[in-house]
């Protein structure tokens, strides 16, 4: 087991280095002038000012040297302090966010994390349940309906689905509003009497014993969570279904049935646990789904997270912010993959021994 984890861990630095190279390659498609103007908060009117910046930060140095500086930072020739450096957590200055990219991510991440956490509950739970239901009723009516449901769900773009639920449940019925909190609630949340432990509204509200705020936050989360989860339901359903069908045909299932066990017990005790093994690897894919999904979902629901910020920054061609957030998301993805791999190894001993 330890060997298996070590082998996985060894790949990580290589992948992360590759990711930074690719991000830097995209950055270096821009000319030194363009990059100089990206890194100052305002394009200086003075003539020769951009040349000075290029000179100072070595933006026309050879690319490998620039990459090195971009990764580990660069000594300021006047003050002698080290500036920049992705490894030191400096992803550059975000024009749209009016702060460093790291700051912006820190400010926006809790909202996105809250959304993703809530979304993963129905996504995994309902997805697996539907998949099992579909496999147990193989080729019967329930299975056919669920197959159609999954293929239709798979075909609806996130933004169409999001706008449709907003049309019905917000514009028509007024049940679930967009954004993150109602005005009265966000005033309380921002006041001093409310301690923000995690920056996640639902959890903070519970910790502050404010049920009214908790329900307000949940009311705002219902639609984006549904939107984020529905696409992955379809996916989860398919994976669980095919894995379940595989398992149901195994010899040990016949054995269990011939022992006289009730079909319910056979399914619950013998089939489901074994069928869920490959479902774990899907966890990494779900992570990708969530990271991609938040961009569109947050944009539609004006939800102030990392995804909607990325969309705004991309539209204003704030390349530094966009690259920073994508770099950060890739890191999350790489570690998410690692966790899924390790979990898979823990659950399925056959994998470890390979």
């Amino acid at each position: 087991m330890i060997n298996y984890i070590i082998r996985r861990l060894l790949i990580i630095p290589m992948l992360l280095a590759g990711v930074t190279v690719l991000i830097f390659a995209m950055l270096s498609l821009l000319t030194p002038f363009e990059r100089a103007s990206l890194y100052v908060s305002d394009i200086p009117k003075r003539q020769g000012a951009l040349e000075l910046i290029i000179e100072k930060y070595g933006l026309d140095d050879p690319i490998p040297l620039q990459y090195w500086h971009w990764m580990v930072g660069q000594e300021d020739s006047e003050t002698g302090e080290i500036k920049g450096g992705v490894l030191r957590g400096d992803l550059g200055w975000s024009k749209v966010g009016k702060g460093s990219v790291t700051e912006v991510i820190g400010r926006r991440l809790p909202a996105t994390a809250e959304l993703a956490l809530w979304a993963s509950i129905p996504m995994i739970g309902i997805g697996i349940w539907l998949g099992v239901l579909s496999a147990v009723n193989h080729n019967k009516l329930a299975d056919q309906i669920l197959r159609v449901f999954s293929i239709v769900g798979w075909s609806i773009p996130t933004f169409v689905f999001g706008l449709l639920v907003l049309m019905i449940f917000y514009a028509k019925l007024g049940w679930f509003p967009p954004e993150r909190l109602s005005d009265w609630a966000s005033q309380i949340v921002q006041s001093d009497s409310f301690t923000r432990y995690t920056q996640m509204n639902t959890i903070d509200a519970l910790l502050n014993l404010r049920l009214d705020i908790f329900f307000d936050a949940v009311r705002h989360l219902v639609l984006p969570v549904t939107t984020l989860a529905y696409l992955n339901w379809a996916y989860m359903l398919r994976v669980t279904r095919s894995s379940m069908l595989d398992t149901l045909n195994q010899d040990y299932m016949t054995t269990a049935r011939s022992k006289g066990l009730a079909e319910k017990v056979v399914v619950r005790r013998h089939a489901v646990p074994n069928a869920l093994i490959p479902v774990v690897t899907v966890a990494a894919l779900m992570m990708i789904g969530l990271l991609n999904g938040v961009v569109i979902t947050e944009t539609i629901f004006s939800y102030p997270g990392m995804g909607s910020f990325l969309a705004i920054a991309a539209l204003s061609l704030d390349v530094v912010s966009v690259l920073g957030i994508t770099l950060f998301s890739s890191f999350i993805l790489v570690f998410g993959n690692l966790i899924a791999d390790v979990l898979y190894g823990v659950i399925d001993p056959r994998i470890r021994l390979q």
């Binding site: 790949i11 290589m14 992948l15 590759g18 990711v19 190279v21 690719l22 995209m26 950055l27 498609l29 821009l30 000319t31 363009e34 197959r147 159609v148 293929i151 239709v152 075909s155 609806i156 773009p157 996130t158 933004f159 169409v160 706008l163 449709l164 907003l166 049309m167 917000y170 514009a171 028509k172 967009p178 398919r238 994976v239 279904r241 095919s242 069908l245 595989d246 990708i288 990271l291 991609n292 961009v295 569109i296 944009t299 539609i300 990325l310 969309a311 920054a313 991309a314 539209l315 061609l317 704030d318 390349v319 966009v322 690259l323 957030i325 994508t326 998301s329 890739s330 993805l333 790489v334």
Partner: protein, 324 residues
Amino acid sequence: MKVMVRLLKNPTSLAGIILLLAYVVIALAAPVFAPIPPRSRDPYIIPRDGFTTEPKLPDEEHRFGTTEGQYDIYYGVIWGTRTAFRVGVVITGITVILGLLIGSLAGFYGRWVDEILMRITEVFQAFPFLLAAITLTSVLQTLYGRGEAGGISYLAQILAFLTFGHNPTKPVDPVQLQILTGMLAIIIFGWMTYARVIRGNILAVKEFEYALAARTIGASNMRILMRHLMPNAVFPVLVLASMDIGAYVLTFAALSFLGLGAQTGYADWGQMISFARNWIPSLAQYWHIVVYPGMAIVLFVLAWNLVGDALRDIMDPRLRGRGA
């Protein structure tokens, strides 16, 4: 041929095929369904009926109503079919060719070639796809926006030729350029799955007895490649990949929806739906700005998925009847 018969016998894939044919007819006959207004500079620019902001509900003159800025939704939905086919077919074609090249190089030569190519593939896969596409689009648009794109402008020329039949000696129209940047970004981050699957298949087939037997009796590399590896390891992947057109149209529509694909007023479904973002509180009243272009996308993608799903069942006997 057998495959086609089975697709036609299966009710779901038959529905998909009929839908697809309907879209092909709409795309080909777009000028019949939605005549190009006189004095139009480019048929893909949706005609406007005035400039007022408030969308108008469907009526005699505008069958599907108008969006904000009075763009005719019916016209956009019809001509958007052409955009969808163009974008989908070109993106799928190029990503599959890229994946085929990289995957077969890695699978066929093995050793360090395989090692290097697969590590590169893994790095590209370490990015969330949509985020990477958004990022690259914004970088490319910065490049093109300032007029100088260096070597990359040749890529845009080739892509413009393939997508719009644009004369390669002339500069690319800025309206088309914005679409091309989105497509290019999707292509660059889209080829990895194909490369991996093709590599895996080639490695597996290489070890099968019939390939070994062919080698033992002295068949050349080329013969093994053409007679054994291509039909068994590559063609099935290509056929299945062609069904991804729907998925790529969906991704491109997402870029357009965010404002990074087609420009405002271009006949593109994603772009048309993005108008709805400004009218969310009054969507109950202006339902038509979401429903019509939304339906166009959903049915288009659904059609590809229906056929693709059935095809997957037929082509992959291991999965037959399981619909995985």
